[in-house]
């Protein structure tokens, strides 16, 4: 199945400058599988949203879902 992925500006360094992409994942794949396909190291991911809802990495995806990856929060 195909899902839409968008990433924040910081992550473009891992995705050849691409902010939005459509990727193919296996049916019933979890969010983590989709994120791995973007090339973004998992430790860089703070959390993801699917269709604008914050979800865990083991959240199961459906055809046409919109996943967005956000960086970890930084600070002292």
């Amino acid at each position: 199945m195909r899902i839409q992925i968008s990433v924040t500006s910081w992550f473009k360094r891992f995705t050849d400058g691409i902010a939005e992409m459509e990727i193919e994942v296996s049916d019933g794949a979890a969010a983590v599988e989709a994120v791995l396909k973007t090339g973004i190291p998992l430790k860089e991911i703070g959390f993801v949203t699917v269709n604008d809802m914050k979800v865990d990495m083991d959240h199961l995806l459906h055809e046409g879902d919109r996943l967005r990856a956000y960086p970890t929060i930084i600070g002292g």
């Binding site: 860089e44 703070g46 959390f47 949203t49 914050k54 960086p71 970890t72 929060i73 600070g75 002292g76």
Partner: protein
């Protein structure tokens, strides 16, 4: 401190104009930085006197490896906070640590009050007490420029100073360090004001050859590589901490409009990316830091009719954008910078200022206060009126603004609205509504800052909420940061400076500490802080939390008030056991 086997303390008495230098071997067991400063504070603080009494001390200290390894750039200041009435602890970068190091002082204790406005000119061989009457009333920017012209010293000079808010003893007045860094939190600026101390210039010219240069340089290079060649620090230089706006807003952790909301509908207009695209003109660094996380933004200001504009530059980071942006419903990056500018020049802590104004805005809407008191109608998003209100706070324009100048806790004591007065143990909240970690961490943290133990970070990394694990994590981090801050590392680099790296650095300059020693130092410092808090009358169990924290959902969903108090009680139990050991 390095190689000398003692801590060199410079005591300055502003009342008599006398100085004294002591070489204290006994302080070495506190390593440096916050350890030494805590001990010196414990020796000199006066629990019986008001925080702004002239007999209260200001303590500054640098660390056991200050300035000679990358990103070990900070100086710690300790004092009795006029905002909370208890432990005051604040950190600043810039050039101060380097100049103290090169002037040969590991710590400074300033007591007393000058008869007239003064500034101190500190060099390796002298402390000058100088007349600052002509500077009284100047902005922190202006006075920095004037002293720069008067005092020799060039690049190895640091000038720390207060603005009018410090002179007027606003309880959250800040101290500006070398223009773009600050002792921001808890009101050190007011303590300067209470001593008639406008500024301190420090010039260092000492040369300290490294003994085992080969070993030192190897460790230095390893750390430098880690800082510059890995992704650990890259974000701080890239868009900087404002990168946080986007994830916090998406996850519902961005305090907005006095935390009536956890998501800001105009978040994208004040995001790190927006600032980078529209305002960023320069990046700078503290001396000795290859990262350069200081972001300078510019906005255009009309200074006369007929299209006469000037470009105004101010530093910005995440906390400022939260406090003077989302928290006040400010919709554009330009307007956030317009609010930062007066806060900066008047010399106030941006976080406290924003949070106090957020409360005032809601109190005004709820008719707890009137326009007769606020002088201008306050509403979320109204930048022009907020600029006026900021000026009124600094000037303590009337009774109402005098109350605001003492913090949100004091203002809500007088006018009501406690449920939405967003402070932890009297210190205004930081920009993370992330969950129980943030609430617990800020409440029990020694100085009630998100930086005491990084509770917001625990909220982010904890997969499943577990009370015991959370309490343990906050307790462990609080102790660990006591040790880290005895060095005094910029906490942005705390992932670079793991225990192995710290020991390698210290060992390479002849300080042969072990892992166990570091643990013991952290514990020793934390105990000393807790002793001071107790002497100042702080009672953890009497703290009340604003109900708003439990009304507005967080990054980790809806929070429960009873759970928060239970966590505080658990932590309290833990420190009682710790102190009894």
């Amino acid at each position: 401190m390095i190689y000398e086997g003692y801590i060199k303390v410079l005591y300055i008495d502003m009342t008599t104009g006398k100085i004294k230098i002591e070489n204290r071997k006994d302080l070495c067991e506190y390593l440096g930085g916050v350890g030494v400063a805590t001990k010196l504070l414990e020796e000199t603080i006066r629990p019986d006197l008001d925080p702004l009494d002239e007999n209260q001390p200001i303590v500054f200290a640098i660390g056991a490896a200050s300035s000679i390894f990358p990103v070990i750039t900070k100086t710690v200041a300790m004092f009795r906070s006029p905002l909370t009435g208890e432990l005051g602890e604040s950190y600043a970068g810039g050039r101060m640590a380097l100049t103290m190091f090169l002037a040969g002082y590991d710590a400074m204790v300033i007591q007393g009050k000058a008869k007239k406005p003064s500034y101190l000119a500190i060099t390796r061989n002298n402390v000058g007490f100088k007349d600052a009457r002509a500077f009284w009333g100047m902005s922190s920017d202006e006075v920095g420029r004037v002293i720069r012209d008067r005092e020799p010293g060039g690049g190895k000079r640091s000038i720390i100073r207060i603005g009018p808010a410090g002179e007027n003893m606003v309880h959250y007045a800040s101290v500006c360090v070398d223009t773009y860094r600050h002792f921001g939190r808890l009101g050190l600026g007011a303590v300067f004001g209470s001593k008639n101390l406008k500024a301190i210039s420090i010039v260092g010219d000492r040369n300290l050859p490294i003994k085992n240069f080969k070993e030192y340089f190897k460790v230095y290079q390893d750390i430098y590589k880690k800082v510059t060649d890995t992704e650990i620090m890259a974000k701080y230089h890239d868009a900087g901490t404002p990168i946080n706006i986007e994830p916090l807003n998406a996850a519902g952790g961005l305090p907005t409009k006095n935390l009536k909301q956890n998501v800001f509908e105009h978040g994208d207009k004040i995001s790190g990316e927006t600032f980078a695209n529209q305002n960023l003109v320069r990046k700078m660094a503290c001396t000795g830091c290859p990262v350069g996380c200081i972001h300078i933004g510019q906005f255009r200001r009309e200074f006369d009719k007929g299209h006469e504009y000037e470009a105004v530059s101010v530093g910005y980071d995440y906390e400022l954008i939260f406090a003077l942006g989302s928290f006040l419903g400010i919709k554009t990056s330009d307007e956030v910078l317009q609010l930062i500018e007066p806060v900066e020049h008047l010399g106030m802590d941006a976080m406290s200022t924003g949070v106090v104004l957020g409360w005032a805005t809601e109190a005004f809407a709820k008719k707890l206060i009137t326009e007769e008191q606020t002088l201008v109608p306050l509403s979320f998003g109204n930048t022009a009126n907020y600029i006026k209100a900021i000026e009124y706070i600094a000037a303590k324009k009337n009774e109402f603004y005098t109350a605001l100048s003492e913090g949100v806790e004091k203002a809500s004591d007088i006018y009501g609205g406690k449920d939405f007065a967003m402070a932890f143990s009297k210190n205004e909240m930081a920009g993370y509504h992330t969950g129980y970690g943030m609430i617990l961490g800020s409440t029990v943290g020694a100085r009630h800052s998100h930086l005491c133990n990084g509770g917001y970070s625990v909220d982010q990394s904890m997969k499943e909420f577990n009370k015991e694990k959370l309490v343990d994590a906050i307790f462990a981090e609080e102790k660990e940061r006591c040790m880290l801050n005895s060095l005094v590392i910029c906490l942005f680099a705390r992932k670079v400076y793991d225990r192995t790296t710290i020991l390698a650095a210290l060992n390479s300059i002849g300080n042969n500490l072990t892992d166990e020693d570091l643990t013991a130092i952290g514990e020793r410092i934390y105990k000393a802080k807790l002793r001071i808090k107790k002497a100042l009358g702080y009672d953890q169990m009497s703290v009340r939390l604003p109900k708003r924290l439990f009304e507005t959902p967080s990054y980790n969903g809806q929070l429960n008030e009873d759970t928060a108090y239970e966590l505080i009680a658990m932590y309290n139990q833990k420190i009682e056991e710790f102190m009894a050991k």
